[in-house]
Amino acid sequence: MATEAKTPELIVSVSPHVRGDETVGRIMWTVNLSLLPAFIMSVYYFGPLAAYVTGLCIVTSVLFEHFYQVSLKKKSTIGDGSAFLTGLLLGLNLPPSVPFYIPVVGSLVAIIITKLLFGGLGYNIFNPALIGRAFLLISFPKLMTIWSEPTAQFVALDAKTTATPLGILKEGGIAKLVEVFGDKTDLYMNLLMGSRAGSLGETSVIALLIGAALLMYRGYITWHIPFSFLATVGVMAWALGGDSGFFTGDPLIHLLSGGLILGAFFMATDYVTCPSIRKGQIIFGIGCGAITMMIRLKGGFPEGVMFAILLMNCFAPLIDRSVKARMFGAIKEKKEQKK
């Protein structure tokens, strides 16, 4: 066996042959970066408390992931930014004035139960941040629905509480909502900029759209899920959301309020829990939109984005299976007719 190793002339290897320089970590940190504008707006409107809640979520998420993996003698994966992202999304989905244990419990459920017990990143069935929030909303229904009024003064320590636009819409109808904000243009502007009550990161539509544009530009998310989601919500709000019969609703209010933009661009598009085939993604988005509007218009909760995405997460594997492309050249067998 003393022959020198020759330079091989023909390399035979298994696929993949071409490797990009994208890594999980790079994608995750880019998504984190794209949420930065929304985070800044939340601090602007809700004061230092917003940074505290979000920061606590991030720190506890990362710590839980680290200690779970260290205690099981596995490689700690906190460097890939996914735990950071889960914590960030969870924080941006919480109301501004929550006691300290709510972020901790939310991170515990999101990271340990939803993600790591199912096998870690890539194996979770549901979006971890959303399960964390759903758990909190059901466990602490009162604390999770105290919405502070945005102040934009950096000192919102004893903020006034108020209702979210969707809450007002549910209780008093569109007329009441317009009355609260002045007139319709003011209403749209406030909703667009984010000067309204709501979860920390969901209020400022414009900041979220900047982040989403970055993700679309980098090609990390495609238009399929967000746009089919938003279009379904818009059409259903227009067709069914009106006070005076069909096709009189105001789609813009529904599109701009609640957690719709955050959910459609940042959470429904989670790689792990959405279908991976384009046609399936459109079905997924339409399903999300339909469930959201059903909950908003007829359900007990004012907001339904979270439950809609979670419900459609269950269907993601089924959707993927049913829209799988037919094998090239395969002939579909004719079904035998029953006699």
């Binding site: 419990v105 139960i113 059901i138 466990s139 602490f140 229904p141 009162k142 604390l143």
Partner: protein, 208 residues
């Protein structure tokens, strides 16, 4: 499955730990989620199951040579229903407040998979005394499982134990809702599997 017949003590132990109805066999999960939002309810249902399981095993074992194999299932059903009626009426009379809450689940013991399974698998093939031990072990195993699940659910969900409040503040409301039942059962099942694999060298149960 060892071929060597087990001693009576081993049979009781087997029912309590080795083949625990809920955590190892993963059967009779419906009551373990429906009734365990309070320790009082869990205890009551557990006692009822211990009684029914033991008596059914004894009766089936006594009658095993007279029951024709082809009609054994309806006959088991009748025996179980008889004992369930007894415990149902007893509880309705002497434990009225609890009965009002879990009366439905007392009656539904008729359909518990665990009781029927032990009658078919064990009592139908064994002598009276081992059957009684097996029924006792299985019943106590179920009782213990109910107590463990309801301990965590009541403590976390209401901050109480047996109705006495222990923890002030905001409890995790989800734990006394059905979703919390699934969470508690799943996490505890995983925990007991871990104990089995870590300390006793078992392979862990996967709901066999």
């Amino acid at each position: 499955m060892s071929l060597k017949p087990k001693s009576n003590r081993e049979l009781i132990k087997n029912g309590m730990f080795g083949e625990n109805t809920i955590f190892r066999m993963a059967i009779s999960l419906c009551p373990s989620i429906a009734v365990t939002n309070g320790m009082k309810n869990g205890l009551a249902l557990g006692i009822a199951v211990v009684f029914v399981q033991t008596m059914v095993n004894a009766t089936v074992s006594l009658m095993r040579n007279f029951i024709h194999p082809k009609i054994r299932i309806p006959i088991f059903m009748l025996i179980i229903a008889g004992y369930v009626t007894i415990i149902d009426l007893l509880m309705a009379t002497y434990a009225r407040p609890i009965y009002k809450e879990i009366g439905l689940y007392i009656q539904i013991i008729v359909a518990f998979a665990s009781i029927f399974a032990r009658a078919e698998v064990f009592a139908n093939k064994n002598k009276v005394w081992p059957s009684i031990c097996d029924g006792l072990g299985m019943g106590i195993g179920f009782l213990l499982a109910m107590l463990v699940i309801s301990f965590f659910r009541e403590l976390l969900g209401k901050g109480e134990l047996f109705g006495y409040s222990l923890i002030a503040g905001n409890p995790l409301l989800i734990m006394i809702l059905p979703a919390g039942g699934f969470l508690a059962v799943g996490l505890l099942m995983g925990f007991f599997n871990w104990i089995d694999m870590r300390f006793f060298g078992g392979k862990g149960a996967s709901g066999v």
